[in-house]
Amino acid sequence: MTRYIVRRLLWGALLLVLVSALTFVLFRVLPTGDPARLRAGRSASPKVIAAIRVDLGLNRSLPEQFWLYMKGIFLHFNLGYSYYSSASVRSLIADRLPATISLTLGAAAIWLAAGLAVGIVSAVRRRSKLDRAAMGTALVLISAPEYWLGLIALYLFATDIGRLRILPGAGSYVGLTSDPGKWLTSLILPWLVLAATNAAVYARLIRGSLIEVMGEDYIRTARAKGLSERRVVLRHGLRSAINPVMTILGLDIGVLLGGAVLVETVFEIPGIGRLNYDAITHSDFPIVQGTVLVAALFIIVANIVVDVAYAYMDPRVRVS
């Protein structure tokens, strides 16, 4: 098992290098805004733009720029400096990461719980009115754009602009360490919005998975043992049904840790997603490269964790 993990980690490192290279190339080759020009302001003279280009190291050859960049990351963990504020990318990311982590993990907990609850009930009462209503609602939520849901949530419940003023609105996020109470309440609406779509997906997933599992022979055996139906469903059925769901959960969390831009924007949460988006509009390459790298790292790690967890959860997999 250790050899397996080590192998995966090495492979992951290679993947990170590839991702860096790809980001690097894409942003310099595609017709995005020229960062030197954007930094100078559109009004600047070509001479000024050229000077800034030298400042930012953009006058060097692409391979040379790339080599310097790679060296910086892998030898010094230096992700470069923002073209705009000259703040170090690493510090910017470290500053924004807690918000994204708070948002992601909280939402994941909620959508997993909700998805499980609804999915199990739906599976057990298949084709009942309850099941149809639940799956119908799920379909609507899956189709609803996150951004729109966020706006609706604010217009309904935000203390500053909502109809029912019960929860803190956009911009109320504070770090966990500065005010735990406010941190928690400011995240409730964003969690719910982020969880809504996913809960719906997971409910459908779990429903499907559980229905399939409940048709298995070993469920019949469990019943034949005289176990209560509740135990059969929750211990025997769910235990099998949850495996595929867990792997997906791991991947979803990995992706979200790269930043949930839409929710972060609507609720004004200073996370990685928003940082990335702002950097893109300014062609602030170092930040973009940094955030993409961090996001890729999360996904790679999530993949490895999920694979290992799966082996742990399903003993049959370990044999191979």
Partner: protein
């Protein structure tokens, strides 16, 4: 041992409404089983043998099945029990083992845990006690190194060992009746004999009744005292085991016997399959269900339902056939 049969099934009918129509799975089945006795139920797929055993366990409830008749266990009608009461019976008074132990054991739990669970479902026992009992059960089922096996997962065991484990699990609470649905079908021939031997031994040791369901006459020949042949949801013949083989009365039984390969027969002797296909349970043939495939059917066999009647001169032998008894004898003698 009392004279009262352990299990008395009376006129059991089970129907399942489906999109394509109503499936008549059991069409008035009646039989008795004494404590400690072994009954073999033989039939093709679709004969209703599995539904019969599942219904006895109460596992066909809730599938929108329409069940009528009665299943008396020591005088208690199981069909009248609530689900909770039935849960107390399953795995406790009546236990069941299934055809494929690989798919019938939970792949993600250890064997020992699954057995311990069966124990704790019906009696108060601490974790440690249940686990100890699990190991003891595995030992009783002749599993080598039962301590280690208890920690294994189903996929780590061979087919034969898995079936032993399943048997051990079924016997955890010393049931009065064990239903074994095709217990050897998924196993190698050599292992089959071992399992059958195990079942016989355990039955004797625990004094429990057993119902073995199979499509293979050879299996029941070894262990059953009494054999019932089912076709299209009905018992068409039932008799003490020896008589089924020496003096079968039903044309379907003849077909079954003729399609068994034997070591004694010459190599050139051709196996004779039963002509035709099993009937649809939605749209069954009227009258005698077997008449479309019966070489000896007469026109009015399509109209009249043959009742299950005793055979004159052979105690314990019943058959549901509209042919006259002597005519049947004549045909059978000609076939041998």
């Amino acid at each position: 041992m009392s004279d009262e049969p352990l299990l008395r099934v009376e006129d059991l009918r089970v129907e399942f409404p489906t999109e394509d129509g109503v499936v008549h799975a059991l069409d008035g089945v009646s039989y008795e089983l004494r404590a400690g006795a072994t009954l073999g139920i033989v039939g093709e797929s679709g004969s209703g043998k599995t539904v019969l055993s599942l219904t006895t366990m109460g596992l066909t409830r809730g599938l929108r099945a329409r069940i009528s008749g009665s299943i008396g266990l020591e005088g208690r009608d199981l069909l009248a029990l609530s689900e909770r009461q039935m849960q107390a019976v399953r795995g406790n008074d009546i236990a069941m083992i299934f055809q494929d132990p690989m798919s019938s054991l939970h792949p993600l739990f250890r064997i020992g845990d699954q057995l311990a669970e069966a124990v704790r479902a019906h009696r108060k026992a601490s974790r440690g006690e249940a686990r100890a009992r699990a190991v003891a059960l595995l030992e009783m089922a002749a599993l080598p190194d039962p301590e280690r096996q208890a920690l294994s997962y189903p996929h780590e065991l061979s087919g034969g060992m898995r079936q032993r484990a399943m048997i051990a699990m079924a016997l955890a609470n010393e049931p009065k009746l064990l239903i074994a649905d095709e217990p050897t079908t998924a196993l190698d021939v050599t292992v089959q004999a071992q399992i059958l031997a195990l079942l016989s031994r355990l039955q004797r040791e625990l004094g429990m009744a057993m119902v073995i369901i199979t499509h293979d006459l050879a299996v029941v020949a070894e262990v059953a005292q009494e054999i019932a042949v089912m076709y299209a949801g009905r018992i068409v013949e039932s008799a003490p085991a020896g008589q089924i083989f020496s003096q079968p009365e039903h044309p379907y039984t003849w077909g079954l016997l003729q399609s068994i390969p034997t070591l004694e027969g010459s190599r050139s002797e051709r196996l004779v399959p039963i002509a035709g296909a099993p009937p649809s349970l939605i749209d069954r043939p009227s009258g005698c269900h077997f008449h479309p495939r019966c070489p000896y059917a007469k026109p009015d066999h399509a109209r009249i339902d043959p009742p299950l009647e005793a055979v004159v001169g052979e105690p314990g032998h019943r058959v549901a056939c509209l042919l006259a008894a002597d005519e049947r004898r004549r045909i059978w003698t000609g076939m041998r």
